[in-house]
């Protein structure tokens, strides 16, 4: 099938020859393979903003123009595919007449000379009449299941036999099967959408607006013959639309029925890993006498009205969360609030208004924990919720707070994860839990530290008690100075932590004094903090603090020292929840699926016929000689399994000799089994 530079041929013929040529087909196979790589290296169909950040505006635009964010829908990619299919089709059309001839023609008129040039030949001189030789040859062929045709030449007779025509069927089945697979895929493709977009009838929506407000040109009717999209439906709610993602936007596809999610479940193995995801669905359709109730799970979709409903994923469906807002700054009020995930709430602060955006709720948080023996174990850290706190300037910080205290080093802490952007790693605030497993003591201590009256009271008590046993006892002026600095240092500590105090010292003292001053100030601050803590304990009725109380004190100071970085005026504690889950459903209508499967079956059968059936031919050229002798010229060819055919050919020659010339004396035999090495490989044509 080589393309010949024949200028006499018209353009159409030359084009067909080019398109049906083997070099083009192989080139297209390789080009398609290489083009496919792009879409696996570059993650497809991400938000366009992500690409812009990754590549910069210049390359972002170039890649967008090339369609690299959705390669497999890009015009150029579809053209390569189309070329391959056209090339395959033309190849089939062009080769079919020749193959049909191959199947039908026995080539019984083959010349003696050409038979002698075949790869497998042998010739026998036999002491048998020609009719007897022909009869034997016929039997040998029929025993092997060959089809045979005889031909009467001028001075000879020829028997031409062949077998294994299924090999040619292998060619048709594989190549036509591939074309059918492609056509089936085309039925399910987004080509109609692309054409609609190109004509300007369809326009993907890029705004984040309620589905009901999506304009008509971004909506597809329920009669659309193929689609594949998804929708998240909270438990107890229903939907009659799905969303089809298109580049950086989406289309709304209407469904011919309404799906209600009654419940969504995750079942777990004993190890905590998920075992199954399933949804109880109700299909509401006016064509149904009563709503259809069923349960779907991963690997077990529901097929209804030519569509299939799959369990694709799951998430929160707007869980209700009860919260207690505990102020970290004394000037902010303490509040209780109940809200739902995906909703926003305005919070009034002292000097600034905040917006609380609830973004997620998780019932289980299974995290790896390294135990004392060094083993990694999965541990459930219980429910958590995630929210953003946005200030008046619009800046937001994201928090993930766990509902229950988590044991770390055998002590319980309330944990809150903080990050400014999703790209940052989470940092954690550990608030120690008191003996009742609550945050009460921590916030009591914090409130006392921030309360000037309490702070001064505690500072005075400690100072006087200390002064009384020193020489300075009764010196009010010194006492007041000490108390003042205690209050002042505590305030600095509260507002900016240990770091803040160090910064304050370096700003006010020459470098050579910094170390001494820091030591002195730290002593004073420690005394003040301790005195406030002891006051707190007294107010709680604890007279003699235990070791655990001092441990709590250290943990509290660690937490307080980190507060200036926390960025929120409240610690928002989850006190209760009502989980509502959402089931992520994928709904598809793919009329081409069975077409693709049909083509796949053809392809599979074809591949085996093509590789494992050999098209074999054997010729018997029977020439009468004088004295009732006969010359038998044997020739054969096969297009697969050359080695096996060579063995068969040798065996056949031997069998004929055995039957027709049992004794060597009866006939002289010249044997030229094959024209070249048996070990040679198959030759294609």
């Amino acid at each position: 099938m080589r393309l010949r530079q024949n200028h006499n041929l018209n353009l159409g013929t030359r084009l067909t020859r080019f398109l049906g040529s083997m070099p083009l087909a192989i080139t297209l196979l390789v080009v398609l393979a290489i083009a496919s790589v792009i879409g696996t290296v570059l993650q497809q169909n991400k938000p366009y903003a992500d690409y812009e950040i990754k590549f910069g505006t210049f390359w972002f635009e170039i890649f967008r123009t090339l369609g690299l964010y959705d390669v497999y829908s890009a015009l150029w990619f579809l053209l390569i595919l189309a070329f391959l299919v056209v090339s395959t089709s033309i190849c089939v059309v062009r080769n079919t007449p020749g193959m049909l001839r191959e199947l039908r023609r026995f080539r019984e008129q083959a010349q003696e000379k050409s038979l002698r040039l075949m790869k497998h030949t042998s010739s026998l001189i036999l002491n048998q009449p020609p009719a007897r030789v022909e009869e034997t040859a016929l039997q040998a062929m029929q025993a092997e299941g060959f089809r045979v045709r005889a031909h009467q030449g001028k001075d000879h007779r020829t028997l031409a036999a062949m077998k294994g025509g299924a090999n040619k069927w292998g060619y048709w089945l594989t190549h036509i099967g591939l074309v059918i697979i492609f056509l089936g895929g085309l039925l399910d493709s987004r080509l109609p959408l692309m054409i609609g977009e190109w004509r300007g009838v369809i326009q993907p929506e890029t705004r984040n607006i309620p589905a009901s407000e999506v304009p008509l040109e971004s909506r597809l009717q329920a009669g659309n013959h193929s689609f594949r999209g998804s929708v998240d439906i909270p438990e107890g709610r229903q939907a009659n639309i799905i969303f089809l993602p298109v580049r950086d936007g989406y289309l709304v596809q209407e469904l011919p029925y309404t799906v209600e999610v009654k419940a969504f479940r995750v079942e777990h193995y004993a190890t905590g890993q998920p075992k199954s995801f399933e949804s109880d669905l109700v299909i509401h359709d006016k064509d149904l006498p009563q709503p259809l109730e069923t349960t779907i799970s991963v690997n077990h979709p529901l097929v209804y009205k030519g569509t299939a409903i799959y369990q694709a994923n799951f998430g929160d469906g707007g869980s209700e969360i009860s919260m207690q807002l505990r102020p970290l700054l004394a000037t902010y009020p303490r509040m209780d609030l109940t809200g739902n995930v995906f909703e926003n709430y305005n919070l009034k602060g002292e000097d600034e208004n905040w917006r609380l955006e609830l973004t997620n709720f998780r019932l289980f948080n299974i995290n790896p924990v390294i135990s004392e023996t060094g083993e990694t174990r999965q541990r459930n850290m219980g429910p958590s919720f995630t929210f953003k706190l946005r200030n008046a300037a619009g800046e937001a910080i994201e928090y993930t707070n766990y509902m229950n205290p988590v044991m770390l080093d055998k002590r319980p802490y309330f944990i809150s994860g903080v990050r400014k952007s999703p790209a940052d790693p989470q940092r954690f605030l550990h608030i120690p839990a008191d003996s009742k497993g609550s945050t009460a003591r921590f916030f009591h201590f914090l409130a006392n530290l921030q309360d000037n009256a309490q702070l001064r009271k505690a500072a005075e008590q400690t100072t006087r008690a200390t002064m009384a046993v020193t020489a300075l006892g009764g010196n009010d002026q010194v006492t007041d100075t000490v108390i003042d600095s205690m209050v002042k240092l505590t305030r600095i500590f509260i507002n900016s932590g240990f770091d803040g105090m160090e910064r304050d010292i370096s700003a006010r003292f020459p470098p050579e004094q910094v170390q001494n001053v820091t030591e002195a100030f730290t002593k004073v601050l420690r005394a003040a903090l301790e005195s406030v803590y002891q006051l707190t304990l007294e107010q709680e009725g604890v007279k003699t603090p235990a070791d655990s109380d001092w441990q709590f004190y250290d943990d509290s100071l660690n937490a307080i020292s980190n507060l200036p970085l926390y960025g929120s005026p409240w610690y928002i504690q989850m006190t209760g929840f009502q989980q509502i889950e959402a089931s992520g459903l994928q709904i598809t209508r793919s009329p081409g699926m069975n077409v693709v499967y049909f083509g796949s079956v053809m392809l599979t059968i074809g591949v085996f016929l093509l590789f494992y059936i050999s098209h074999r031919r054997v010729w018997f050229y029977i020439k009468p000689l004088p004295d009732n002798q006969t010359e038998l010229l044997l020739a054969g060819s096969a297009n697969r399994h050359e080695r096996e055919f060579a063995a068969y050919f040798t065996r056949l020659t031997g069998q004929l000799r055995q039957v027709l010339a049992p004794n060597k004396a009866d006939g002289s035999v010249t044997d030229a089994a094959t024209n070249d090495d048996h070990h040679n490989i198959e030759h294609g044509r």
Partner: protein, 392 residues
């Protein structure tokens, strides 16, 4: 003179498959059928329709394999008996794996796999020693060691299947669900394919080269097992709980195994060619199989691999249609399967229609293995997508 009619028919009539079978074949078939019938009678009530049909269809499949390739008869028997022995030693208690000698040192899945690993290394060494020394005895020993390794490998997988149910009936699954398990499968299938061709072509001199790729897989397996505790049996994620897994994965690994074999015969081809050019009277030039034979084995392996890879990809598409809602999503794993398929399709076209053979095709078969390797491992390691079960 004339030969009586019936004698002539006797000469030409090729005996049918059934007539070529001898007593040993029939006895073996009876044992296989009895075993499967017993399993069906005892356990059919615990199986669903798919599992029942798999069990019943395994009978003609095993019989056909055994009749077509006699060496596999003993293999099937050995694996069945040793697996049953291992299961019997467990006696329904997983803890026995640590206390019973026969399990701890031989037939618990982990021990069996360790034996397989060691024996594959040993067989590689024996094949190369046989090549250098030219000793037929050493070569035959290498073949025997390879068979033993294969018995231990498949027995290990069978026992592991049982162990997964023993740990927790809810965990139970066929051991083709993660990278550790499919690497064992890869070693076993590649080894079996090699032994088939070794037997068919009556040539052992390329064994060392083919076993190199298996040894590399074993090396990875050992690292993966020791460094990452990969041998631990874990429950299936919901997406893998499907009968498709039982057929999609093994079909894929027949493809991968055959492609690996083709690449190694391609390597041997290049070695032989180099030896012929530089040292025509040397050991390698004299003892390695002829270039034609190596080329032919490469072709046969690629054709077989291509056929099974086609089936595996189609089965994968059918599974995807059921699990992900679409038979083709251009997911990285799917796309790389297509790339592998296109690559070998191009190879086969050139071979069958243009008659290309020799050096270029040998290099290409090695390149093909690299592409296959990326589709098998690289996609899971470097690209993210739906098909993320075999992560490192």
């Amino acid at each position: 003179m004339s030969v009586p009619q019936h004698t002539m028919q006797d000469v030409f009539a090729r005996p049918g498959l059934l007539q070529r079978l001898n007593l040993r074949d029939w006895l073996w078939a009876a044992v296989v059928l009895a075993g499967i019938a017993y399993a069906f009678a005892s356990y059919h009530s615990a199986m669903d329709a798919y599992e029942q049909s798999f069990l019943l269809l395994s009978a003609p499949a095993v019989l056909a394999l055994g009749f077509y390739w006699r060496s596999s008869q003993l293999y099937v028997l050995a694996v069945a008996l040793l697996s049953l022995f291992g299961i019997w030693l467990y006696g329904g208690d997983y803890a026995n794996g640590e206390s019973v000698f026969g399990l701890k040192y031989l037939f618990s899945s982990q021990s069996a796999v360790m034996w397989m690993s060691a024996l594959f290394f040993l067989a590689t060494a024996f094949y190369f020693t046989g090549l250098v020394s030219g000793s037929e005895f050493i070569n035959k020993t290498a073949t025997a060691i390879t068979w033993t390794a294969l018995v231990m490998g498949l027995t290990g997988l069978m026992v592991r299947w049982y162990e997964s149910y023993l740990i927790d009936p809810e965990f139970g699954h066929i051991p083709v669900s993660n990278l550790y398990e499919v690497f064992i499968l890869f070693c076993v299938i590649t080894g079996l394919l090699y032994l088939y061709y070794e037997n068919h072509y009556r040539n052992r001199s390329m064994g060392g080269f083919v076993l190199l790729v298996i040894s590399a897989a074993v090396g990875f397996l050992l690292w993966y097992s020791f460094a990452r505790d990969a041998h631990e049996i874990r429950p299936l994620v919901p997406a893998l709980k499907s009968y498709w897994m039982k057929i999609h994965v093994p079909a894929n690994f027949i493809g991968y195994g055959a492609f690996a074999l083709a690449a190694m015969t391609g390597t041997t081809y290049l070695v032989k060619q180099y030896a012929l050019a530089h040292n025509p009277s040397g050991l390698l030039a004299r003892r390695l199989p002829s270039l034609e034979m190596l080329d032919e084995i490469s072709y046969k392996a690629i054709a077989l691999g291509f056929a099974f890879f086609t089936i595996a990809t189609i089965l994968g598409a059918m599974w995807a249609a059921e699990a992900w809602g679409g038979y083709w999503s251009w997911d990285p794993k799917e796309t790389w399967a297509l790339i592998v398929w296109l690559n070998y399709a191009a190879w086969l076209h050139l071979r069958l229609t243009k008659g290309w053979t020799g050096t270029h095709m040998a290099w290409w078969s090695i390149g093909g293995l690299l592409i296959t390797l990326f589709a098998f491992l690289g996609v899971n390691m470097f690209l993210s997508g739906l098909h993320s079960y075999g992560e490192l």
